[in-house]
Amino acid sequence: MSRIKDLQKNLFGGTTSNARQFGMIFTLVAIILLFEVWTGGLTLTSGNLIAVVSQYSYILILSIGMLMVIVAGHIDLSVGSVAAFTGIVVAKAMQEFSLPWPVGILVGLAVGALIGAWQGFWVAYIGVPAFIVTLAGMLLFRGGNQYIGNADTVPVPEGFRSIGAGFLPEIGPNTGYNNLTLLLGVAACVAVVWRELRARQTRHEMQADVAPVWISGLRLVVMVGVIIFATLRFAGGRVGTSLPISGIILIALVLAYSYYTRNTIGGRHIYAVGGNARAAELSGVKLKRVNFMVMMNMSILAALAGMIFVARSSASGPQDGLSWELDAIAAVFIGGAAVSGGLGTISGSIVGGLVMALLNNGLQLKGVGSDMVQIIKGLVLLLAVAFDVYNKSQGRFSILGSLMRPFRRDDPGQPLDRSLSTSDTDKAPIAG
C-alpha cells in the first residue's frame, strides 16, 4: 500500500502545491465537470474556453496583485474603480490627442503607478489602514471615471483592442489548428518536463527524499495531458481565433509573479511582513517600502486589467470594473490565503480565480440571472473558506488535505499555537 501513500504524497506535491490547493484543484475539476454535464458539453468547447479567457482574464490578473496585498496583511477595495478610471483616461487620451495605442498602454500603466503611489503613500508612510485608503479610492476613482467620461462611454481605436480581443496570427502550413498556439503548447510541455527534472535534481542536491520515478512520470503524464488538451482546444477554434492575447499576457504575469514571490528576496519580504511585521522589521526588512510597493503593484495590475477589459469591449464606460474587487478577493481566499496575512500562493489564487471565472461562465451559459449568480458566488466563497477554517479549528486537515504533506507556505502551525502566540505578540513586553 505504500505505493498509494507515495502517490498521495507526491502527485500534486511539487514545491508550489499545498494541502489547501490540492482541495481547490478538486473543486475546480468538480465545477468543470458539473458545468460540462449541465450545459451538455458546452463548457469545454473551443469557443467557450476562448471566451472564458478573454472575458475573465481580469479576475486572474487582479488576483495576482491581490494575493500579494493580502499576504502582506492588507486589502484593496479600489481595484475595480482604478481599472475603470484608467480605462477612461486611456480611452480619452487616445481619442483627444490621437495617441498611438502603444503609447496609450504606457499612459495607462503610468496612471496605475501614480494611483498606486498615492494609495501606497497613505498606507505605508502615514499608516492609514489599507481598508480605509482603498475604500476612499473606490469612491474617488469611480467618481473620477464618471467625471472624465461624463458618465458616458468612450470608444478605443482598433489597434488597442488587440490586447483584449486579439488573437495570435495564422502562420505556417494549414494544419487545421492555430500553429502558434500549438507551438506554445509544445513549449509548455517541454517546460513542464524540464521543471520536473530540475525539481528532482534540486531535491537530490538538498539530500531530501526524491519522489519515486514512476510518480514523477505519472505527474508529468497528467500535466502534459492537460496541456495538450488545452492546446488543442485553444488552437482548434474558429479560424482566426487562438489562445487570446490577453491569455498570453496573463500566463506571462503568472509565471513572472509566482517566480518573484517564491524565489526572490522581495517576495520573501512580503511574506515576512504579513507573518510578523515587527519581526520582519527587526530582521532588516524595509517595512514601509514593502507595503508601498505591494499597494502600488496592485494598482498597476488593476490598470492593466482595466485596459484589457476596455479593449475587449472596445469602449470604456461608467459601469466598468463594478465589483471586481469582490471577485479578486474571493479568488485569493478560495485559493487558500489567510485573512490575517502571511500565507497564500499565486498558483492557489489562480486556481481560486479559475473557480470564480468558470462559475461566472457556467451560470451565464445556463442563462442563470445575475441575482442567482451573486447568491451562488457568495455561498461558494463562504463555504470554501468555512470548510477550511472548520477543518483547522478541529485540529485536523480535510480528508483531501491529509492525503498529502503540506509544503511551503501552508499553515505550519496548529491553530492553538497560533492564537496563543498572537495574543503573545500583542503583549510584547519590553523589559530590560
Partner: protein
C-alpha cells in the same frame, strides 16, 4: 481525602504528532496538596503532557488514561478541565494587553447580575484575588502597563477566579527576575498550605530543588524517574543527571578569554520612551566592547538594557535623542535595522515569539531571514543553498526536529530559541547582542549555547549578553556592566564579579567609577 492521597494519575500516555512521537508511555502520579515539578530537556514533552492533561489536546488525540480524583476523565477542551478544577498557565501568557487587570481576571468568567456584568462585584473580587497573590496594583491598570512579573500574578489570580484544585504552571519564572520568582515560589508554598496542588515546569533547577516535593523527569518523551525530594535528598546535580542521563560536571565550558582591542564604542547614548516624553530609558550610556570579549549587562527588569540594545540596533525602540557609535575607530550611523546589520550588528531578542520569529515560517526560512542576500544572486534566492545552510545549523546547534522544512511552531520553546540564534549567527555579525539568550532553555542546551558564544568570541567577535540571571553572567562574561534605571552604574571585571557587588550596583543610582 488525606494529604497523601493521589489526586491525579496519568497512565501510559502516548501522544504523536505527524512525524514525531512527543510522548511515549508516560506516567505521572501527583499527590493531593503537593508541589510536583516536571523536569526535562527542551522538547522532552513537558508542555505536551500538560496540554494533554488540560484538554488542549483533547481526549482521542492521545492514548492512555487520566485518572483525576479517583475517576477517569476525558476532557474534550480546556473548559472541561477547568470545570474539574484544573487550570493551566501556559508558557506563553494569554492576557489581553489592552484590558484592565480586573477585566482580564474575569475574562470569560464575568460575574453577572440580571444579565449584565456586575463590575462592582468584579472589582471587589479582583481586589481579593490580587491580595491573595500579593499583587499590589490598581485593578483598573491595563495589562500592557505592568511588568511581566505582575502579569504572571494576574494569570494566577485569573486561575483563582475559577475554582482551582490543580494549578499547572509551565515555566512561570522564565521571564521573571529573582525577586519576582521568589515571590511566586513563596506563593506556591502558601497554596500548598491551603491544600492546592501545583504542577510546575521549569528549567531553573535551583528553584525546583527548593520548592518541589516530588520531581518527575522526562527524557525524549519518556518518564525516566520520579524523585521524592526530601526522602531522596535531591539536589540540582541529581536532577541534571536524570535529565541528560549523565553527570554534567560544570555549567560552563572551559574557556580562556583572549580579548583584543576595543572595536565597538558607544558614547552618551540617550533615548526617550516612545510615548511618555519625559521618561528617558537610556541616560547618556557609554560603553565599549573589545574584539573577542563577552560583555554582560546586568540589571533588574525595566532597567533599560533591552531598550539600550534595541535603540542601538537601528533605533528599533524609543526616540533617539543623542549619542554616537564608533566601530573600529570610525563613527558609524545605525539609523535603520538594515544599516545595523550592514555594520555587523545582530540583536537576538528576548521575546522570540513576538518579535524574534515569523511563526508562519518553517525552520529553514527563519534561519536565513536576516541575511537573504548571502544566499542570493541578483535578488534570487538559491534554495539548495538555503537548505544546506539550515541543515548545517540544525546539526551544529542540535535543533531537535525531523526536518528543516517543519514549521517553527512545531518546535519546543528551547529549540525555537536555537533557531533564532542560528538566524543571527547566519548574518555573520561582528557584534552579537544576545538578550536573555537562555530563557526557557534546559541545562544541556545552555551549556551548548555558552559554548557557541565562547566560540564566537574566539573568532574575534564581540558578544554582549543581557541576562537576568547573575550566575550566568558571572560564569560567562569577561566583563559586566550594571544598569540601573537607564544609567550604567558599574563596570566590573571578571575577577571582581560576585552577586553581592553586582546586586548593589544594579540597585543604586550612584555611578561607580570604572576601576
Amino acid at each position: 481525602m488525606t494529604v497523601d492521597s493521589t489526586l491525579l494519575e496519568m497512565r501510559s500516555i502516548t501522544k504523536t504528532f505527524p512525524g514525531v512521537t512527543a510522548l511515549e508511555d508516560v506516567n505521572l502520579v501527583v499527590r493531593s496538596g503537593e508541589i510536583h515539578a516536571i523536569c526535562g530537556e527542551n522538547g522532552a514533552g513537558k508542555s505536551t503532557l500538560m496540554k494533554v492533561l488540560s484538554g488542549v489536546h483533547p481526549h482521542g488525540t492521545y492514548t492512555g488514561q487520566i485518572v483525576y480524583q479517583g475517576d477517569e476523565v476525558r476532557f474534550s477542551n480546556i473548559r472541561a478541565s477547568e470545570q474539574a478544577g484544573i487550570v493551566i498557565i501556559h508558557q506563553e501568557l494569554a492576557l489581553v494587553p489592552g484590558m484592565s487587570i480586573t477585566e482580564n481576571i474575569f475574562l470569560g468568567n464575568e460575574p453577572r447580575r440580571r444579565g449584565s456584568i456586575d463590575w462592582k462585584a468584579a472589582q471587589r473580587r479582583a481586589l481579593e484575588l490580587m491580595e491573595q497573590v500579593g499583587l499590589r496594583e490598581d485593578p483598573d491598570t491595563l495589562i500592557k502597563d505592568i511588568g511581566v512579573g505582575k502579569q504572571q500574578l494576574v494569570e494566577i489570580a485569573k486561575a483563582f477566579a475559577k475554582e482551582v484544585k490543580l494549578l499547572i504552571l509551565d515555566e512561570p519564572t522564565a521571564a521573571l527576575n529573582e525577586a519576582d520568582s521568589q515571590h511566586l515560589l513563596d506563593l506556591l508554598r502558601g497554596f500548598r498550605e491551603r491544600g492546592i496542588t501545583s504542577i510546575i515546569i521549569s528549567h531553573k533547577l535551583n528553584e525546583i530543588a527548593a520548592v518541589a516535593d516530588t520531581i518527575t523527569i522526562l527524557r525524549d518523551g519518556r518518564t525516566i524517574e520520579s524523585l521524592d525530594v526530601k526522602a531522596d535528598g535531591v539536589n540540582e546535580d541529581r536532577i541534571v543527571r536524570g535529565m541528560v542521563g549523565r553527570e554534567l560536571h560544570s555549567r560552563f565550558p572551559d574557556h580562556t578569554p583572549d580579548p583584543g582591542e576595543v572595536f565597538f564604542e558607544v558614547r552618551d547614548w540617550t533615548v526617550r520612551h516612545p510615548i511618555s516624553t519625559e521618561r528617558l530609558v537610556c541616560k547618556g550610556s557609554s560603553f565599549t566592547v573589545k574584539r573577542g570579549e563577552i560583555v554582560g549587562f546586568a540589571g533588574l527588569m525595566g532597567a533599560g538594557r533591552t531598550e539600550l540594545a534595541m535603540s542601538l540596533f537601528g533605533r528599533s525602540y524609543g526616540v533617539y535623542l543623542g549619542g554616537r557609535v564608533f566601530k573600529d575607530g570610525k563613527e558609524i550611523q545605525l539609523r535603520t535595522v538594515a544599516e545595523a546589520i550592514e555594520h555587523g550588528l545582530a540583536y537576538v531578542s528576548e521575546d522570540r515569539k513576538a518579535i524574534g520569529l515569523n511563526l508562519l515560517d518553517d525552520i529553514k526560512t527563519s534561519m536565513v531571514a536576516a541575511k537573504l542576500s548571502k544566499i542570493s544572486t541578483h535578488g534570487v534566492i538559491d534554495q539548495v543553498e538555503e537548505h544546506r545552510v539550515a541543515e548545517e545549523y540544525r546539526k551544529s546547534l542540535r535543533v531537535k526536529t525531523p526536518s528543516v522544512d517543519e514549521g517553527v511552531t512545531k518546535l519546543s520553546g528551547g529549540n525555537q530559541q536555537k533557531v533564532v540564534l542560528a538566524k543571527w549567527m547566519f548574518t555573520d555579525p561582528d557584534l552579537l547582542i544576545l538578550d536573555e539568550p537562555t530563557r526557557g532553555i534546559d541545562v544541556g542546551a545552555k551549556y551548548e549555547i555558552y559554548g557557541i558564544i565562547q566560540r564566537l568570541a574566539d573568532q574575534g567577535k564581540g558578544v554582549i549578553v543581557i541576562s537576568s540571571e547573575l550566575p550566568e553572567l558571572i560564569g560567562l562574561c569577561d566583563r559586566i556592566y550594571t544598569v540601573f534605571e537607564g544609567t550604567i552604574t558599574g563596570d566590573v571585571a571578571r575577577g571582581d564579579a560576585d552577586p553581592e557587588l553586582l546586586m548593589k550596583q544594579m540597585t543604586s543610582t550612584k555611578k561607580i567609577p570604572t576601576p
